[in-house]
């Protein structure tokens, strides 16, 4: 008796009927088989009988994709977010596709916008992203720019895409668009936002922008994508297509779909405005702490010896007065502490209430209207590049990459 492997033919007996199907896998003690009518079912392994080996698979569809050499060249850097996937209808497995050819086969209209080079930096879920990969990402983008690419598209899982985009923005000066894109609905489904988001991101990457941006659905409609500044964007919904929102400012622009017409606001940095430059040092010994009522000051002990700590405080930028002695100790020991707000909207002001004034007096830095996550990656970058704590503090309150707005609107 053969042990079935994925794809093998098996017989399955149920209530007097014997059916044939394809063996898929064993999961949690149950054999999963795909019946001839296409349905999967789970059954005890002893109820199936091996019939035959899987027929050899024809080679995976390797349709030749010819790229139009008269079009500008864009670089696609993938990190593991899937903008294209394929379903194996025999087993039902969904696989991610990364190569430019695969992506072009899945979204052929991309071929009307540009030629593509592909490059894979990582293959991870975005919750497993870490600063070291942000650095690789910035280096890869810089390489591509030096190589003469007209624009960079970074495919990324959406959970932490905003942080990656902000990190790359601090590390990289770029004359060409560097566009982060992802999808909120998996690419295997006909309704996925992957194709529209990718087409919009390619249009932006081939267009007149000259900074790092996130391009995603602007509304629940398939009508346009918004172009968000990397340092002012946040994922504000767990599942909606239009989860990404520009915070404290209007988006840098929009891409109409399906026309793919890009409209940029006056504020968007234009192509060629910056010379390429890479400053990829990061001080990873930094953290972001979300304060809550009753949180004991002992929590701060975990961050002892850290180079930097961003606090997401309440309201205008507060933590419990009980925290002040410990915070003073940390700051005296050399930790840079930056205050941001859990409100996400609005600016920190520690000059209104006593607690705030006390925090300022011990050396906590007001993080202006920076988003907490953006303040964290900025702090890593600033401390990685500026050894003098005083000057680092000044930099934290200086707009370096569009992360701080002069005016609150």
């Amino acid at each position: 008796m053969e042990t079935p492997k994925a794809g093998d033919r098996v017989r399955y007996a149920n209530g007097g009927a014997a059916l044939t199907g394809t063996y898929i896998t064993e999961r949690d003690g149950m054999a999963v088989i795909k019946l001839e009518n296409g349905y999967n079912i789970g059954t005890s392994p002893e109820k199936i009988e091996w019939v035959g080996r899987a027929a050899p698979q024809p080679p995976a569809g390797a349709g030749v994709v010819i790229q139009d050499t008269s079009l500008p060249e864009l670089s696609i850097i993938s990190t593991g977010g899937t903008i294209a996937s394929r379903v194996d209808y025999r087993t039902g497995a969904v696989t991610s596709q990364f190569s430019a050819s695969d992506i072009l086969r899945a979204i052929p209209e991309l071929g009307d916008i540009a030629r593509y080079r592909d490059r894979q930096v990582a293959s991870i879920l975005s919750e497993n992203m870490r600063p070291a990969i942000w650095q690789e990402l910035a280096r890869a983008a810089y390489d591509e720019i030096r190589h003469g690419t007209s624009g960079v598209i970074v495919t990324h899982g959406t959970d932490t895409m905003a942080s990656s985009a902000a990190a790359v923005r601090f590390m990289l000066r770029t004359p060409v668009p560097v566009v982060f894109v992802g999808s909120q609905r998996s690419a295997d489904r006909p309704s996925s936002d992957n194709a529209m988001n990718t087409l919009c991101s390619a249009a932006v990457a081939a267009g007149n922008l000259g900074e790092v941006a996130v391009v995603m659905h602007a509304t629940t409609n398939d009508d346009r994508c918004a172009v968000h500044r990397a340092t002012r964007v946040r994922k504000m919904h767990t599942s909606r297509r239009d989860a990404f929102q520009s915070m404290g400012m209007a988006p840098l622009g929009y891409v109409d779909y399906p026309s793919l017409t890009v409209t940029l606001s006056d504020e968007a940095v234009r192509r060629g405005a910056e010379e390429p430059e890479l400053r990829d040092a990061l001080e990873e010994h930094c953290a972001l702490l979300h304060f809550h009522p009753g949180m004991p000051s002992g929590v701060l002990d975990a961050f002892e010896g850290y180079a930097g700590l961003v606090l997401a405080g309440t309201g205008l930028g507060h933590v419990s007065t009980d925290w002040i002695p410990k915070l003073r100790g940390m700051i005296d020991d050399g930790t840079t502490v930056v205050m941001t707000s859990q409100c996400l909207h609005g600016r920190v002001c520690d000059r209104v209430y006593n607690t705030g004034r006390d925090l300022l007096s011990i050396g906590v830095i007001e993080g202006e209207d920076m988003l907490p996550e953006v303040a964290l990656v900025k702090l890593m970058w600033v401390l990685g590049n500026e050894p003098d704590p005083e000057r680092a503090g000044v930099l934290m309150q200086t707009d370096l990459a569009g992360e701080i707005r002069r005016r609150s609107i």
């Binding site: 079912i41 789970g42 109820k47 489904r189 006909p190 309704s191 509304t219 409609n221 009508d223």
Partner: protein, 619 residues
């Protein structure tokens, strides 16, 4: 037709909406809405996804020939799940329970673990581009020996409002899909099986009722023909006719095939641009077309225009295929000159494409791109005619003929719904499923236990008001009164223009209880129902309070003493008449008294009192 000789094989798929509190994969109510109450609209594009072999499912691909934008209406009873903006919730256990109940009633065996699948459907009726469906049980049997293959639990699609606009209220309502083996061999057998399964479904008391809540798809093939699925047959009475017409269609297509083979017919694969030929045409359709293309079908003359089904010709089939490219239809020389195309133009067309008398020429008129696509589709369908009957999914037209919809979908369109965990059906769960009494058995029991006549018993058992009837009987109401009120009286009042549907089941129950308790006479029921209908939504109160108010107004209580005094007066006033007719005066005087008491007193009481009074007078 001799169906046995033709080798008719038919199967049926029944889709029945379940009457659960919540939808299958989200917590929205299963309430249908008026499109005027929509709270918003949004739109999306759908795109067929590529399979491992670089193949797109042929049914899905066909639907993608047109780039279509779909618009969706949303409501305050719809959530992000229907918007395809949130992952699905776990499978609704109530729906699974109903599905298992039906499976048990049909003698099926459940699978040990139910896996939810995604079935690709890119016609816009699902915001996700797939329908979630799960196989729950296998192999059941029907009384005539026919076999049921599967029962699946799936989500209902969105309702098409018009064109590419869909309404999301219906999307996600639980649905069972019951598939029989191709084990029926006459049109009537198909109808009988559909009726039986429908009865089983209604016996659960947990399925939705009314138009559109049950739909039948019918699979038909004859020897030498092909499996064809006809979707969306809503009227039970049409099922046999649909089968008859499909058999007729397949027989005719096979005859056409034989004739084509005899003539050595073939499809010329060059498409000829004939736009210039129609420069001065009077035909409004051809006049406004940017491009007119012609296809020569060698040896097809007379056959394209031949009837294959009432109202349908081979040309209609070609036209259906062409319409997938967004054209309005086709013209062919079997039906020309017509539609503003002159005999002269036809002659020029035939000459230009080099058509002989035995050839048929098809023309398509549209934009260059659409016309090219349509011409290709016409050739594809013409090629199929050379080999007989194509396997297809078709949609039913009025009266029972059908039109082409898409190729039969393959198993290729299914893959796992990874967002939903498999559900185990353990023995304890299966054992706990109670099998309800079949409606047919229930009707027999009503005859036996309640003494209802057979027709009324069946009517009650199959009625949507069965729960009210049973509640009334359980509350001590006489079954005949309950049955008559719920079915006959209500229907008569409705026919007379009374809005009895505004009277709630609880009010009817309270009314019947009042009659049974002697607070109103059964003769007053129509008046009381009319009063309850009139004041529905105006006078608030519990059902009991509303019924009492109606009694107060329409049939105030009359005491036995009152009855006796009325009877005495009526008899005294008509003493001469009573003396002349003797006991024969009972009937006529009864009517007079009943009118006076306005139905507030039971007829039996009046009749006894009157009889006593007459006897006293005559003695």
């Amino acid at each position: 037709m001799n169906y046995k000789e033709l080798g008719l094989k038919a199967g049926i798929e029944i889709h029945q909406q379940l009457d659960t509190a919540e939808k299958l994969f989200c917590r929205c109510p299963t309430t249908l809405r008026d499109t005027a109450d929509r709270t918003g609209e949004f739109y999306r594009y759908l795109r067929a996804t590529e399979s491992e072999l670089g193949e797109i499912d042929r049914a899905a691909e066909e639907e993608m020939k047109l780039v279509r934008k779909f618009c969706y209406y949303t409501y305050d009873t719809v959530c992000l799940a229907e918007h395809d903006e949130e992952p699905p919730a776990p499978m609704n256990p109530e729906a699974l329970d109903v599905c298992l109940t039906i499976a048990k009633m049909l003698g099926m065996t459940p699978v040990e673990q139910v896996h939810t699948m995604r079935k690709l459907v890119v016609d816009g009726s699902n915001t996700s581009g797939f329908q979630r469906t799960a196989l729950v049980a296998l192999s059941g049997s029907l009384p005539d020996g026919c076999r049921i293959e599967t029962i699946c639990l799936e989500e209902e699609a969105a309702q098409r409002v018009e064109g590419e606009t869909f309404s999301l209220d219906r999307l996600g309502i639980p649905l069972v899909e019951i598939t029989t083996a191709p084990c029926m061999h006459t049109p009537e057998a198909v109808q009988r099986v559909a009726e039986y399964i429908g009865m089983v479904l209604r016996s659960t008391g947990r399925v939705k009722r009314g138009l559109g809540t049950i739909r039948q798809d019918i699979n038909v093939s004859i020897a030498g023909g092909a499996r064809v699925e006809i979707k969306g047959v809503q009227e039970l009475d049409l099922i046999a006719e649909v089968v008859r017409r499909e058999v007729e269609r397949q027989v005719n297509l096979l005859a056409i095939r034989d004739e084509l083979v005899k003539r050595s017919a073939r499809v010329d694969h060059t498409v000829v641009d004939v736009t210039a030929l129609f420069a001065g045409t009077k035909s409004s359709i051809l006049k406004k077309a940017k491009s007119i293309l012609a296809i020569r079908l060698s040896g097809f003359a007379g056959l394209v225009g031949q009837d294959i089904q009432p109202g349908r010709r081979l040309g209609s089939e070609m036209s259906d295929y062409a319409k997938k490219c967004g054209v309005g239809g086709i013209f062919h020389t079997d039906e020309l000159p017509a539609y503003g195309v002159t005999a002269e133009e036809v002659a020029r067309l035939r000459e230009f494409v080099g058509a002989r008398d035995e050839d048929c020429v098809v023309i398509v008129a549209a934009s260059r791109e659409r016309a090219g696509c349509a011409a290709e589709q016409v050739m594809i369908r013409a090629e199929m005619a050379l080999s007989g009957v194509p396997e297809e999914t078709r949609k039913m037209l009025e009266e029972g003929s059908s039109a082409y919809m898409r190729p039969l979908p393959g198993a290729a369109r299914m893959y796992p719904e990874t967002d939903i965990f498999p559900v185990a059906i353990g023995e304890a769960l299966w054992e706990s499923i109670a099998v309800p009494e079949l409606l047919t058995d229930r009707a027999e029991r009503f005859v036996r236990e309640f003494g209802l006549d057979e027709a009324l018993a069946r009517q009650v058992a199959f009625s949507e008001r069965l729960p009210t009837f049973e509640a009334a009987v359980a509350a001590g109401v006489r079954p005949t009164i309950a049955a008559r009120t719920l079915l006959a009286t209500c229907r008569e009042l409705a026919r007379g223009g009374v809005a009895v549907d505004r009277v709630s089941e609880d009010e009817i129950l309270a009314l019947l209880s009042a009659v049974e308790a002697g607070r109103a006479a059964k003769e007053a029921i129509p008046d009381l129902l009319t009063e309850l209908a009139r004041t529905a939504g105006e006078c608030p109160g519990t059902p009991r309070e509303r019924v009492d108010a109606a009694i107060e107004k329409m049939a105030p209580a009359v005491s036995q003493a009152d009855v006796e005094s009325i009877v005495r007066r009526v008899v005294t006033e008509r003493e001469a008449f009573a003396r002349e007719k003797g006991m024969g005066a009972l009937g006529p005087l009864m009517g007079v008294v009943m009118q006076e008491v306005r139905g507030s007193v039971d007829g039996r009481v009046v009749s006894e009192t009157l009889r006593r009074e007459l006897k006293r007078l005559l003695s």
